[in-house]
Symmetry: C2
Subunit: 780 residues, 2 copies
């Protein structure tokens, strides 16, 4: 129970959101939650990780592969598709435990019967290039069924076409689609093999069902759609089943010919058979869940939403490559250019740090591999060091344009400052690398490029900063913080605090590298000797201005002169809206001149540095900023949930947690900014839901030495069980209101200290079960 | 000849522009070029200098006084007004030499005759509170004429009402309108006296013309309009004449009761009589012209336009007060809030410096008197020193709002950065004070507050500047330069160069003050001792970044990254316009993201510091920036004319000169920005026309020691005669292509050196005539 997401009717206006909700994937590719008869108009997409293309002067975006699972069924000459026929019954479901997508649809047939079509499929977590699917048909009356199935290369593109020189061949019974991308000329190959076990089944019943299979595919006349036609007589009460296998390869995947790799892989997959593939897939998922599933006792709704959030993270995490990270819309399509944002480090990384350090390392190595792109961006703007891309793709060059939103009133592109002013991105990367080291103790990442990234980011900030001679301090001017409705502000509290941390990390990384990898340190330090380097970092750190709480109000001003902006309620601001899609930020945006913020900004900073601020400060700022927050970004609600738990009022946070955890279940998120479609999945919110539950309500906090456990469970929650991996050792935490049980795996190599309910830390040795209880005052 | 502006038809669509074109005034008040029968709908206004009021939360703006000259004529019961009856003939004219406005209108009468109405009026340059007017009627047939004349207090206000507690009394034959302003409760009083000499004339002819005069004014029933009714029989062929006198006083004018002052002044004016008043007025104008009239030989059109430009400056110059300066729209109404901009220092002051140092001193003293307002503005933004108002009124507080323009697409106020980012205003003030000292040698202004202003401005810049530790230089970030289409830019070349000069002046002013007024210096220096003061100014000056010409292209980048903006032609940009009144600047303006500039910016800087740059640099920048300049401000064209003359290509500049010099003659200027009416006169353009002619084409340049004369006359110009006052001594310059004659007034106290055509300076002693001729190469 609580492992299944499903719905039991068909509604055409949910096609797009269901594409997100029922997504499957394995980090190599994402397969939107479409039905088999869907085409590009229904946003069918097999979105590939890490392969990008630019068509003409349009936005560069990820490449979608052809859909080898495309299938349309007819019965007695009538097409049975939810797009054309109202079904008698329809169920779409997703089994989160095994990541299998299913549909079952009942159509009425001409002869007054009911034909039931089922299909299930999975994107193999065991063989990352493989998709497998199985269909059945069953009819209450005799009828003749025709199957058209094959390769649909008419892919959905936002800014395509990306697949040029498309060709579909029939190779010894398999279909092979090949193409190359336009910009980098990377080959993309998809092979498909269908197995019509129908024949055997029919033979079993001893009747001749007039099977007619036409496999000839005329690739000359339609290079985009190649279909096998298969028709056969269906006998009432019998069930007919067939399977398909698809393999996807690109020029990024290895040496050799992707077409040949796809063909040989699809044949070998077919050889293993559907059941064998599924079992291997299931085992991989079992292992993933064993490391990540959080169990909430007492709140079924929250349980499903949290599990679903984790599922979404697992289907897009790059297990196979350190050159790929997670885009802001996961692998749910090309929205946001398939680009990687700060979302990864600040909202998703914590989950992987606690559950799968290998993936966490991949994510951070991606930043190391894209350092040159960040250097190019810094140089482009006249800075030294590394200014990471706001929207990062394969090379690390910034995919973000200067005109990200269209003005709905004039149709003109609107100059926004995402790309050039959200300088906190480099500090977010530094933060991520340091967190990785903290959780894993794996300093090798510093030698593998991490130190270089950290120092280049610090150099960037030194070159970006200005010194105020009168106030005798360094300032960070003309930036955009997390609240993107206020662009080009000075001394954004979040940004300055993050930069302060980045400078600290730069200095500490130098010590760590020198201690552990002296040769690497010596060589690198020499290349940085021209400066700015450690001396300048130290100087800037000592004099960097970071906005602090006002002694009276305890408020931290979001940026210089924020408090001078117009005070207006969110309701009042909404009443000023003229066009429902109008952008609230930018030069003339409704929120720009007011105190209304798009998303958590100061509160995000307080949560990141929760040890530095008193509960009173955190509460005062929560109470001030929350009513002024639009939550116009999916990155917002989870932070208010986290911060509410941190100040000990989890019930303030619970609605924000639920909003975060259900964003892709309900599909209730902002779909348009200006005239730009921004729908898709929300991995940052998924990560945020996990953070709110584990770091917030369960109160888990690891500082690299001790795990502090200060739970603040919402009313309905009895306990939360959380598996964590710290310094390579696995622990299971069972966190209740009055007792916490920590169980260390017997094979653990390290002991970790745990301190619960404000008590003293206790070491949890391998194989040990540690029980921590609330220390009630009356016990004294 | 060439002293008259006139037109010979009536066109209702020219009512507004003629209100500007035919304006009269004397620096105390402006009287728009309306006809006597016009009311507020025709923008009749008696705009008072230096008295401002705020009504409700609307923009603060100058106060218009009631119109004591309001008069409507009827003939045989039919109103004879151009607003109601198409006239048979109509002439409106302005005699520039004597500043007298005239109209002559011929109406057909019911009896088939022609009635000719004339009116002339002047705003006395001799008695600044007095207006006088004279009417005549003449008919070709006998008829009965009725005159309604009196006081129209229904004043035109943009953001009124400003005159509260209005009351009109009849006091012994005079009408007295009294009121108080709402905000400061300043009394405003206007007295009117009419003299109907008709009676005498009629008596002369020996007939009884049934005169019926009703003088009773019922002020209870209409406090806004008080009219005398006078009717009489007109005999064919006879001319009937009457006169009126008006006196205007406010609470700013002196002690005592403004109402009583107005009454006694109007009675005394009537006692002197129209002819006597006119003669005194004419003599004052003669004297003004003798000091300022420039004579162009060979170009009648340019001559009239230049003279007209000078006229416009003379009618608005504050001769009577050092607490008043010249608003950007002169005294032509309430447009731009009657506020004083940088226009005064940078575009008008040069004319007064050369022709009337007393007025120049008044203008600069105005800035000294408003220093506290500038200090308040600096403090408001967290700076030290003095940040002068972008739109300055009586107190020096900034009248400029943060939302200066409405978005035509949404109707919403648009955040603009005129107020908070055009920091060059303080340097403009410093520049003006220093120019005053250079021209007059009058250091006393430093002791009278000038030094304090200069230092406070320098302190402001020190507190505004940031130090770039990597580039080791001070920078001026987040400013708006003259080109207001590009707001919030870094290191605007114009701004940085002006600030550099301001810092230099701050240091030199310290020397000058210490040498000449050691006690004042000692006291002031002590008050500034806490710093930033001279040490900081020196440090900043030495390290201030001022953008320089690129060694290859010779171009100076207008601001950081200007060259990265979209390259687009002006024509292409215009083709993108959707709404004719849309604002090109601001957050989403059409020009904002392109290289198109509103007005001269780099070229203005090159012209201000012409000695610092080579001819090649100036030409390269002229050629680059001119095609990219919209000339969307009336401050632009004159600068391109000046710079063209400076590089020796006057014919490039001539069209810009003519455009500048005729702006108020043709009325062809931008009338709307967003939905904001910005029409009115253009004193900065008027001053710019004078600058282009004298400093540009005539090539007059005074550095405080020597006058350099490098004429570059446009094709048609044979010579230019220019009177100048330097260091209190008067000279007449006759500048031709091959010879220059300098004539020093016999009463001069000082000799000044003149160097023409690149030759060596020669001293011109009192009473001397100096002849300088071109030194041709073949003479060698």
């Amino acid at each position: 129970m609580n492992w299944t997401v499903s719905e039991h009717s068909f509604e055409s206006d949910r096609i797009t959101t269901n594409g997100n909700k029922y997504m499957t994937g394995n980090g190599y590719m994402g397969f939107r939650g479409v039905l088999e008869e869907y085409g590009k108009e229904q946003l069918t997409a097999v979105t590939l990780a890490g392969i990008y293309d630019r068509s003409g002067d349009k936005w560069r975006e990820p490449v979608n592969a052809p859909n080898g699972l495309y299938t349309v069924i007819s019965c007695d000459g009538e097409v049975l598709s939810v797009l054309e026929t109202e079904p008698l019954a329809h169920t779409q479901s997703l089994d989160l435990r095994t990541a299998v997508h299913r549909r079952e649809t009942v159509f009425s047939t001409r002869e007054g019967g009911r034909l039931t079509l089922t299909a299930e499929r999975f994107v193999s977590m065991d063989q990352l290039h493989v998709l497998a699917a199985k269909w059945t048909v069953h009819s209450t009356v005799d009828c003749r069924v025709e199957i058209k199935t094959g390769m649909d290369s008419r892919v959905w593109d936002i800014n395509g076409p990306h697949l040029l020189e498309q060709r579909i061949q029939s190779v010894s019974g398999a279909l092979l689609s090949t193409a190359v991308t336009g910009e980098l000329r990377l080959p993309v190959a998809v092979a498909e093999l269908a197995e019509f076990g129908l024949a055997e089944r029919v033979t079993d019943t001893g009747t001749d069902n007039n099977m007619d299979i036409r496999m000839g595919v005329n690739t000359d006349t339609d290079p985009e759609l190649a279909l096998r036609h298969l028709s056969f007589d269906v006998k009432a009460g019998e069930t007919y089943e067939w399977t398909k296998y698809v393999a996807v390869f690109t020029g990024l995947d290895a040496e050799g010919n992707p077409g040949e790799a796809a063909l040989s892989t699809v044949r070998s997959a077919a050889g293993e058979g559907y059941a064998g593939l599924l079992e291997a897939h299931r085992r991989k998922w079992e292992e993933r869940w064993s490391r990540s599933d959080c169990v909430i006792e007492g709140d079924e709704e929250a349980q499903l939403a949290l599990r679903y959030s984790i599922y979404q993270l697992l289907i897009i995490a790059p297990t196979m490559s350190e050159k790929v990270s997670i885009p802001a819309r996961g692998l749910s399509g090309q929205v946001y250019k398939g680009a990687v944002f700060w979302d990864t480090e600040m909202f998703m990384l914590p989950f992987f740090l606690h559950s799968d350090p290998g993936i966490a390392r991949n994510l951070m190595m991606y930043r190391i591999h894209t350092l040159d792109g960040a250097r190019r961006k810094a140089a482009e703007y006249g800075y030294t060091g590394a200014f990471y891309a706001w929207e990062s793709q394969d090379s690390g060059d910034d995919a973000c344009t200067l005109f990200n939103v269209n003005d709905v009133f004039t149709g003109r592109p609107m100059r926004t400052y995402f790309r050039d002013k959200q300088i906190h991105i480099s500090a977010d990367v530094v933060h991520g690398i340091w967190e990785y080291i903290k959780f894993t103790g794996d300093n090798s990442i510093l030698a593998d490029g991490g130190a270089e990234v950290i120092w280049e980011c610090a150099r960037f900030y030194y070159s970006y900063a200005y010194y105020n001679p009168l106030k005798k301090r360094y300032e960070l001017l003309d930036v955009t913080g997390p609240d993107e409705y206020h662009e080009r502000v000075n001394n954004n509290a979040f940004t300055n605090a993050l930069v302060q941390e980045a400078l600290e990390i730069a200095l500490r990384a130098a010590e760590l590298l020198e201690d552990n990898y002296p040769a690497v340190y010596a060589e690198l330090a020499e290349s940085f000797a021209g400066g700015p380097f450690l001396a300048e970092f130290t100087e800037m750190l000592e004099q960097l201005y970071v906005p602090q709480p006002d002694p009276d109000s305890l408020l931290i001003e979001q940026f210089d002169r924020y408090f001078k902006l117009e005070e207006v309620t969110l309701a009042e601001l909404k009443s000023r809206v003229i066009h429902s899609h109008e952008y609230w930020g930018g030069g003339n945006g409704l929120a720009t001149t007011t105190r209304i913020l798009k998303q958590a900004d100061v509160v995000l900073m307080l949560n990141l540095f929760k040890g530095k601020f008193s509960r009173e400060v955190k509460q005062a700022n929560w109470e001030f900023y929350e009513p002024r927050t639009e939550h116009g970004s999916s990155l917002s609600a989870c932070i208010y949930a986290l911060a509410a738990a941190d100040i000990g009022i989890p019930d303030w946070g619970y609605p924000y947690f639920m909003r975060t955890a259900t964003v892709d279940l309900t599909g209730e998120s902002k779909q348009y900014v200006g005239d730009l479609y921004i729908g898709g999945t929300h991995p940052a919110a998924n990560g945020g839901a996990w953070m709110a539950a584990v770091l917030g309500f369960a109160g888990v906090q690891y500082d690299g030495g001790t795990v502090t456990l200060n739970p603040a469970l919402p009313k309905a929650w009895k306990s939360v069980q959380v598996p964590v991996v710290l310094r390579g050792s696995s622990f299971r935490l069972e966190i209740g209101r009055e007792a916490i049980v920590v169980t260390a795996a017997p094979g653990n190599s390290e002991a970790v200290a745990f301190a619960g309910f404000g008590g003293a830390p206790e070491l949890c040795l391998p194989g040990m079960e540690l029980r921590i209880v609330v220390f009630w005052e009356e016990d004294l």
